[in-house]
């Protein structure tokens, strides 16, 4: 649908056109059931609608000044990672998504978060991933891309390079780590391999988790950080030796 058609159809919102060419994750759900279910419970699915983002986004714009709410470039410091599809969007679309976030109209933000299309679509109807022998289907072409197996895939959002906002810098730490030299990637821990099918009716194969667990996962936290306590009485005092060890190749906490 063109912009003019959208206006005629009463859908004057600039985001309507954008949505037509960037389907939300719910459209992928019927075939990619497990991936969708996992992703739905992930922080990526809430990149635009978490309480923290909805609270801090207006504070950031206020910090920039009065004009920031109208300037489509201002929110891109946040949107380039929290809504990566907007990197190439029309300024009108960016302005409207800004309005939705400020008004906390979370339902209207569906499809702009870190979702299937933002990570797997490389334009048109071609979807890429780490599977070496992907199957085409009636809905889209499928393509293997080695980049999905590399930590550098996550770097665009999980590195800090000034003057960007330092929300996450795990990639910089990882790059200098022993884990990096040993070939252990972000995906090794945060998208663990499991048995399953990539899509309904597809062959059984090794697939990757899409819950993206991090420090907010108790299980992940207990794997990442070891805390030891040794206690003893000394006269009228209880003395505790506490040792905390970070086992992972990036800072804790970090995003």
């Amino acid at each position: 649908m063109t912009g003019a058609e959208a206006l005629l159809a009463g859908r004057a919102e600039p985001t309507a056109d954008f949505r037509a060419s960037h389907p939300p994750a719910t459209q992928c759900a019927s075939c990619h059931v497990e991936h969708f279910k996992e992703w739905s419970g992930s922080v990526h699915a809430r990149s635009l609608t978490s309480e923290n983002f909805l609270k801090t986004f207006p504070q950031y714009l206020d910090f920039l000044g009065k004009q920031a709410r109208e300037d489509p470039q201002a929110p891109m410091a946040c949107f380039s990672c929290h809504a990566p599809l907007l990197r190439n969007a029309d300024p009108q679309v960016i302005r409207q998504v800004t309005t939705f976030v400020l008004a906390k109209e979370t339902k209207k933000l569906d499809g702009f978060e870190v979702g299937c299309v933002s990570c797997h679509a490389d334009g048109g109807r071609v979807f890429s991933g780490p599977i070496g022998d992907p199957k085409d289907n009636p809905f889209h072409r499928s393509k293997f891309s080695r980049s999905y197996r590399d930590s550098s895939f996550c770097a665009a959002c999980h590195t800090w390079t000034a003057p960007a906002i330092p929300c996450s810098d795990v990639y910089s730490d990882w790059k200098k780590s022993r884990a990096a030299k040993q070939g252990k990637t972000c995906q090794s821990c945060h998208m663990a391999e499991q048995d399953g099918t990539a899509a309904a009716g597809g062959p059984p194969r090794k697939i990757h988790g899409h819950t993206f667990p991090g420090g907010r996962s108790a299980a992940m936290l207990q794997q990442a950080v070891v805390l030891r306590l040794e206690a003893a009485f000394r006269k009228d005092r209880l003395e505790v030796a506490a040792t905390v060890r970070n086992l992972v190749p990036h800072r804790v906490p970090d995003g």
């Binding site: 922080v43 923290n52 108790a218 009485f233 970070n246």
Partner: protein, 108 residues
Amino acid sequence: MTVSDETGWEFETIKRVYANFGLDKNGETSGIAWKIVNRSPGSTALKPEETRAEKLSFPVEPRDGKRFTIQARVRYHYTPPSRDGFGQEPQATKMAETSLTLPGKRPS
């Protein structure tokens, strides 16, 4: 970290903050992401593969009880704490626990 007695009463709590801070354009330490222009040596986040040890000491009197339990929990959250994308408050995860008994008889 909390120390409780045999009745479950938490008579001592010690908190440690492991957090990323930065320096703002004036060189002041800040925890507000968009004000940060440089790293701060004052960050208390655990560095990759870092081990940090600390000795803590609590006064204990016989009336505090006989058996003590020391528990360490970690609460991982944004600053200030906010609910996650699913409306959940950040939970404290139990990381370690040890118990010991004060030797000798408890005075009546």
